[in-house]
Symmetry: D2
Amino acid sequence: MIKFTSFGESHGVAVGGVIEGCPAGLAIDFQSIQEDLARRATGKASSESQRREPDEVEFLSGLLDGVTLGTPIAFMVRNTDARPEDYADLKDVFRPSHADFTYQAKYGIRDWRGGGRASARTMLPYVVAGAIAKQLLKQQGIEIHAEVKSIGGETDPAKISELLERCRAEDDTVGGIVHGSITGLPVGLGEPLDDKFQACLAKAMFTIPAVKGFEYGDGFAMASMRGSEANDLMSSQGAEQGGATWQSGKVEFLTNHSGGIQGGITNGEEVFFNVAFKPIPTLGRGNRHDVCALPRAVVIVEAMAALTSISFMP
Amino acid sequence: MIKFTSFGESHGVAVGGVIEGCPAGLAIDFQSIQEDLARRATGKASSESQRREPDEVEFLSGLLDGVTLGTPIAFMVRNTDARPEDYADLKDVFRPSHADFTYQAKYGIRDWRGGGRASARTMLPYVVAGAIAKQLLKQQGIEIHAEVKSIGGETDPAKISELLERCRAEDDTVGGIVHGSITGLPVGLGEPLDDKFQACLAKAMFTIPAVKGFEYGDGFAMASMRGSEANDLMSSQGAEQGGATWQSGKVEFLTNHSGGIQGGITNGEEVFFNVAFKPIPTLGRGNRHDVCALPRAVVIVEAMAALTSISFMP
Amino acid sequence: MIKFTSFGESHGVAVGGVIEGCPAGLAIDFQSIQEDLARRATGKASSESQRREPDEVEFLSGLLDGVTLGTPIAFMVRNTDARPEDYADLKDVFRPSHADFTYQAKYGIRDWRGGGRASARTMLPYVVAGAIAKQLLKQQGIEIHAEVKSIGGETDPAKISELLERCRAEDDTVGGIVHGSITGLPVGLGEPLDDKFQACLAKAMFTIPAVKGFEYGDGFAMASMRGSEANDLMSSQGAEQGGATWQSGKVEFLTNHSGGIQGGITNGEEVFFNVAFKPIPTLGRGNRHDVCALPRAVVIVEAMAALTSISFMP
Amino acid sequence: MIKFTSFGESHGVAVGGVIEGCPAGLAIDFQSIQEDLARRATGKASSESQRREPDEVEFLSGLLDGVTLGTPIAFMVRNTDARPEDYADLKDVFRPSHADFTYQAKYGIRDWRGGGRASARTMLPYVVAGAIAKQLLKQQGIEIHAEVKSIGGETDPAKISELLERCRAEDDTVGGIVHGSITGLPVGLGEPLDDKFQACLAKAMFTIPAVKGFEYGDGFAMASMRGSEANDLMSSQGAEQGGATWQSGKVEFLTNHSGGIQGGITNGEEVFFNVAFKPIPTLGRGNRHDVCALPRAVVIVEAMAALTSISFMP
């Protein structure tokens, strides 16, 4: 249903996007968009991030009095923090584990100012589109939620704070895992082979800079499991197979190792997944955001899950 | 460049596919296709799998005297092992952790014979297309290789054999991990955002039935790493950043935590990755293939990696 | 909704196609498919064309007991009339106004046997897919009809017969125009810009070999009209503009110069159009089908109109 | 190669677009873009249209110092002439032969201000993208040119002027035909079936508002021709077929009834075509642009031809 095209470099004129296929008649909740942008900018939940002056979205088309027309919705956020001179020393250098070398090799030219098209700021348009997608999904009872699961292998908040302090002191960075969840999805989303729900979800997550792994349901742990412990039984069991007889009406799942998807198609249970982020490769800049991408990545994971889900809605 | 459309149910007339965009003038190596089909059928390397009567591919179009015309290459393999009566008892049952329920819910009808479109046999056409893709890639110095990394958490061959025996005795199944590798890729494949190399590779892997996780480079382990240990330095180092000065000519990477991709674009190093498979959900059938999907999945992982790689070639 | 991929050369093993996205639960009317194939083979209406042994379709996937599963429907028709030796003298020759030269230049190789991929026989799979599309459309009250409008500028049947005889005697060929009509389309099909209904219809028609022109509604004649004679008034007229007040309920169109489409979107009136065919370029073969492509093209125009219409259905 | 996404309503904030896939390293010729925008705004050739204050394009991304980065190029033109109150009387009226009714029916809402997404102003972004495409094509020796062929059936400039005066006096409008030409195209562009060069060109032309017909080569006239007069012979003739022997080296075409395309693939000759426009449906507004769309449509036809051509370039 929804197709999204994004544009922009971190220190160019603006970042933005065009949403095609958004249904007509939706009264856009601009407040929720700005809240998600504040979460992206600060890494804090919307309740805590209000005070920061957020990135300001300008909508260019597709709306009449704040209501969607069904035509392409274009929007942009100007890059106000553009101090390219801060990056002048990077003009002739390939930073390790950045995209500097690959962009230069691919295009013969690159925007060396703050990462250009490879900057995490290019996720901003996805956050805007994702916020609109979440609004559409919510109308149909579908909720998207993500949160930090672990940082540097630690799951305890106290230990995470301590670890982040240590990294900051040592001018180092650290990776982590974001856990995501989609509830309320109808049964039947996804295609048997080339557009399995999980395949499109994985593709969306690997679009986020620094993502190195994705798993859904019990994920990698299932590689060590036996079938007898991994199978999801249904309440109305059949004979020796433990399967439900389908004439028996609504099926109830007793477990959800599968993560809400079977054969590429949603089964009505919660879709849950983990996304692994490598440490930010830029070291020694000494400001707090550079230490770990995770807090700010949470809302991006939500956006990607929302855009994937909405693309399957009939 | 290459676009692939597949078709077929496990117990229908045939499975097959159409390859569009294959360059003209390629003399198809039919032998290598049949070898890959034998690997899929037996789970054995091509040297050991020769004796089995393989699935036989019939090419329907796109070739003249075995040479590609540049037009769509259609092919099929007839389903000879079709004994639908073996599955008659499944007609009214949803097997646990199968796609029976989701197909029935999505379509209101399903091919209950042996899994239908959700059967692992639907991977056969990808193996054929992948074998052709591998042939094209090889001409450009690109090699694809996959192998079983672990089964049920075991990496030692002896212990794996033992574990498989135990599962067979207990009418149980077990999952595992396939490791894949792509070498010889040119620098510059992949798009900055919506078609990152790793995102398309992940999507392709999650198309394979039973796949629950994908990671590339150091993958999930990087979520516990520090930036100082995760970064890939280059031989011609710059100043405090440890980066290479780009005028210095060819860059040499000293490590490859990144897995050959930076910013979604290949950097010329080996692309390596792991694919996690859940245990086969069908229990208690007592034949050897049912115990673990991994050996037969290796050639499918290769095919998916080949189809992904070829899709980025200029 | 429906995506169609075709394959095949005229003297290869087979021609065929894969239909993706066909709804599940349709009981295929095989008889109507064979009738359309007979119309394509003989150029006669289904009532007259029964005696000829038709091309025989084999369905390879996507059906269970003749009912669609919602999965890809693959089919093929084997090329039985393959006498490539008839064409051996064409191996080293570019025939005028054929695709021989362009294929050779593009691919460096071509299937010289009877036109290969450029043969009109490649339309056969579209006729099969179109017959299925027509069946789906009919269920929703949409009818597709095409007919010969003129041949060599003549519209009178007697004069057309005379002209065809003369061409045959002179080993010459002649072009003509097919008129097409789609009735019963719901209001609202088509997109404002990049996928206007007429744009997709035009693209589909120009896929047919020998088509040189397409017009819809009053077409080229409108280039000589005044606005005052070309506008389509509505029954419930507004003020000085002659427009309908939209609160006034259902609009009734008094004329249909527009051809059932306004702003790229169907308005519920008949969509009608003309397709211009050049003369068959192969001269002097002396059999009747070579004289004029029009009678056999009628069912192809219907198929293309059906495939276009179904692609817009929600 | 190039993919274009446009956005905007005539009286919204802005119209614009995103160009994906433009090669890196192109120094944009901003002057030629503004000249084409002036042609669109005034209907005059660039030499005559300079004095008018043109629409001003703002580029938002994809450029560094005016040179393309290979990343998405986003741009917009703000709608300064937005006086929606002029259209307030149209809020509740469907104007005849406009898209008012179809938009309302499709979306349940419409931007009634000046045509919204159905306005001819939505072609502005295509003119910008087309100007960039023309620049890329010119580098490869490909030239695009369009001109008014006839208005209201008249081809003589004096009679056209007279006719336009008469229409203006009578508060009427009139249609016409634009002739287009593409020279310098390499041999081999276009696909055998689903993406024939002429099919994509036709689709692009029917995207332009008010277009009712498209023909290429000798077009509709070929429907009245004999094969013996329609065929394009080649200089190095073969036997009885009048075909060239392909080993004989470069083929020279003696005629070009085909319009530069055979079997959907360019043959290196000029591609030429006609596009039929219906009269503007808005009557009685009394300003000169309302009388006939043709002069302003010329540069739009060029843009569409350029975008189609560039999409086939390797």
